[in-house]
């Protein structure tokens, strides 16, 4: 049976159910046990599973990830939490030099089934160091899988898929979605496969590639445009690595126009790769430039409300870009 759950409730439920189903699964991170996490994603786990499977760790992202990698080598299924992606930089070495490469460098002798839950994203007044995205770097690192759901349904299904996946998965959770997004979520077990993008809205006039919280912004803009006679096809790239090129290219070939929306700053954001793929592999089908609507190129989202607002992509900015592209 499906009920309506908030995005974060879907994550919590996935963790509870998977820890019940598979006793190799354990969670670890800062503040996740006694307090249930800064956003309460892990609430109830300590009470139910005890300190042995719910580990409040020292403040040290490197060892949080390394402890996960190491214990995955002996067959466990760790699910570390990184409170804010802004602090993933401290764990970069472990993720990029260890997790991403251990299968490769051992020619398959070791595998590293960890699922790193990482809270990210802006628009909630987090300021410079609680609003970053930092997913783009990891898409450049083969060996890692990177996912970012936008619905409660996908949050549960993708998280279960991630934990069961034999590879290291970075599971990005946009904090703005935690309590603002609700959707129907089956009570039982199900997975959403890692890999396939989702077509969230069919359309014939232009393709919009997006992910994370921008999925909702894009859909809102698409509805506005629909009233103006432009039907956008919205493709949510919920797996960012490896990318679902087939779905992306099929949509662009159908609509002949492509736009990319992301919250992250522009240069070398994930939109760069999406644009590159489209312009290389669907060039003959394109009837207009591949347009990116993104955050500006500044170091991070500043705190003061007018500055944050300036940064964020909103439906109006998307609509303006859609108007422009549709008329191209």
């Amino acid at each position: 049976m499906a009920r309506t759950l908030a995005f974060i409730e879907a994550i919590t439920e996935a963790l509870h159910q998977e820890m019940e189903r598979d006793d190799r699964v354990f969670v670890l991170g800062e503040d996740i046990g006694l307090s249930g996490g800064v956003f309460k994603a892990t609430s109830g786990l300590l009470e139910k599973f005890g300190e042995d499977r719910v580990l409040d760790t020292p403040l040290a992202e490197g060892i949080i990830i390394a402890a996960s990698i190491g214990s995955s080598l002996v067959g466990l299924r760790p699910v570390p939490e990184i409170q804010f992606t802004d602090f993933i930089t401290v764990g970069m070495d472990q993720l990029v030099q260890q997790a991403a490469k251990i299968r490769y460098r051992s020619a398959g002798g070791f595998s590293c089934p960890i699922t790193v839950r990482i809270c990210c994203g802006g628009g909630v007044g987090g300021g410079l160091y609680h609003s970053q995205e930092n997913a783009a770097w990891f898409v450049h690192e083969p060996g890692l899988k990177v996912v970012m759901p936008s619905t409660a349904y996908d949050a549960k299904g993708l998280l279960l898929a991630a934990i069961r996946d034999p590879d290291p998965v970075l599971f990005f959770e946009h904090k703005k979605l935690y309590r603002t997004i609700k959707s129907e979520v089956p009570e039982g077990d199900y997975t959403v496969p890692i890999g396939p993008a989702a077509i969230r809205r069919e359309g014939t006039d232009l393709t919009v590639l997006t992910y994370g919280s921008m999925t909702h912004v894009t859909l809102e803009a698409a509805e506005v445009m629909s009233k103006r006679g432009v039907e956008a096809e919205v493709v949510e790239v919920r797996t960012l690595a490896p990318l679902d090129k087939a779905t992306i290219l099929a949509s662009v070939k159908k609509t002949s126009k492509c736009m990319i929306i992301h919250e992250d700053k522009r240069t070398m954001g994930i939109g760069a790769e999406l644009a590159a793929i489209v312009s290389e592999e669907a060039f003959d089908h394109l009837d207009g430039p591949v347009v990116r609507v993104t955050g500006p190129d500044i170091p991070a989202i500043p705190f003061s409300p007018p500055l944050e607002k300036f940064f964020m992509v909103n439906p109006e900015k998307v609509v303006a870009a859609m108007e422009h592209l549709a008329a191209y």
């Binding site: 409040d56 020292p58 403040l59 490197g62 802004d86 160091y129 705190f303 409300p305 007018p306």
Partner: protein, 336 residues
């Protein structure tokens, strides 16, 4: 070394505890009260939704903050962390800028960029903090290296919590400072918790000052709620650092009264623990000391509180009246 313009023109710390001047004692007291009242005001303003984001109250830590930073000169540096908004006040930043920082107005030192509690002040050598823990400690160590290379006798005070001692950056910084005998004071505010993580899950040590044993310089543990104990330890360490003898790690055992931040109900701690620590409030304790020694009387006490309150109200008014930055300013100061 210039101390002109410094609101507290202390040329050098006083080192003989038995001979502390009346001026010093009253100065410390005034600063304790100022920090407390500002911090409590910040909490009220947050709950009144006068500013957004978050705030990390340092109530309970005043003796540590004041004791450690009070004897700094204007040319000295502070590397604060998330719970050290008041270190700006101690170093002498006008209150109006401190509240403008909370309100993220165009008049704040960073023109609204950093979050409310992450405050620095370049004109007084207070490093605008990044959130990522141990970062300030590392950059502060770099400043100490620079000061040494320039042959200056300024020092750096770096503030951080118990939690920060677990992360790699802490180790790299202290090890480096040990090798080069850098002029820096590492002040660990051990308040027993890193968010909801208790000390027993952070370290196998009893005293975090033992961490210094890995770096070849002194580490000491002091009662962080005893402003004179902290002042004494810090001023000796500062003199030591200034004269080229290298760093000191001072662990100050203290406690935060409220949640990790204003949105944390802190249910992971027992009522008893919180109450026991509130009884150790550093301010009444120091008040009693001063009253017993006839340095402070009820009248002066009231006067101090009134003065500070007036100053705070004026500062809040300034912050309130200040404009927000213009949206397009968001793209300023990316590159030179």
């Amino acid at each position: 070394m210039a101390t002109k313009g410094s609101p507290r023109a202390l040329a050098e710390p006083e080192v003989e505890k038995s001979a502390y001047s009346r001026e010093l004692l009253l100065g410390l007291y005034r600063m304790l009260v100022k920090c407390r009242l500002c911090d409590e005001k910040a909490r009220i303003l947050f709950r009144q939704s006068k500013f957004a984001g978050n705030f990390y109250s340092g109530v309970g830590h005043e003796a540590t903050e004041v004791g450690a930073a009070y004897s700094l000169r204007e040319d000295d540096w502070i590397a604060p962390s998330h719970r050290d908004w008041t270190s700006n006040i101690i170093k002498g930043v006008p209150l109006k800028f401190c509240f403008a920082q909370l309100f993220a107005k165009a008049t704040s030192p960073d023109r609204g960029r950093s979050s409310p509690a992450h405050m620095g002040y370049p004109p007084l050598n207070i490093i605008t903090p990044a959130s990522s823990i141990a970062g300030q400690l590392n950059v502060g160590t770099g400043v100490a290296l620079g000061l040494k290379k320039l042959g200056r006798d300024s020092v750096v005070v770096s503030f951080f919590g118990d939690g920060a001692t677990s992360i790699g950056g802490f180790h790299e910084a202290l090890n480096f400072a040990g090798v080069h005998r850098l002029p820096i004071l590492y002040v660990c505010k051990n308040n027993l918790w890193a968010e909801s993580v208790p000390l027993r899950l952070q370290t196998a040590l009893k005293d975090l000052s033992d961490r210094a044993k890995a770096y070849g310089f002194p580490g000491l543990t002091v009662d962080g709620n005893d402003v004179l104990a902290v002042y004494e330890a810090a001023s000796k360490a500062i003199v030591r650092a200034r004269s080229g003898e290298g760093p000191t790690l001072i662990e100050c055992k203290t406690y935060r009264w409220y949640g990790h931040s204003e949105i944390d109900p802190a249910k992971y701690r027992s009522k008893e623990e919180v109450e026991a620590w509130k009884k150790k409030d550093p301010i009444p304790r120091f008040e009693k000391y001063l009253i017993d020694r006839k340095v402070l009387g009820e009248e002066v006490k009231a006067e101090i509180a009134a003065q500070i309150t007036a100053e705070i109200n004026e500062a809040v008014e300034f912050a309130d009246q200040s404009p927000y930055p213009e949206p397009a300013e968001a793209t300023d100061f990316v590159w030179s």
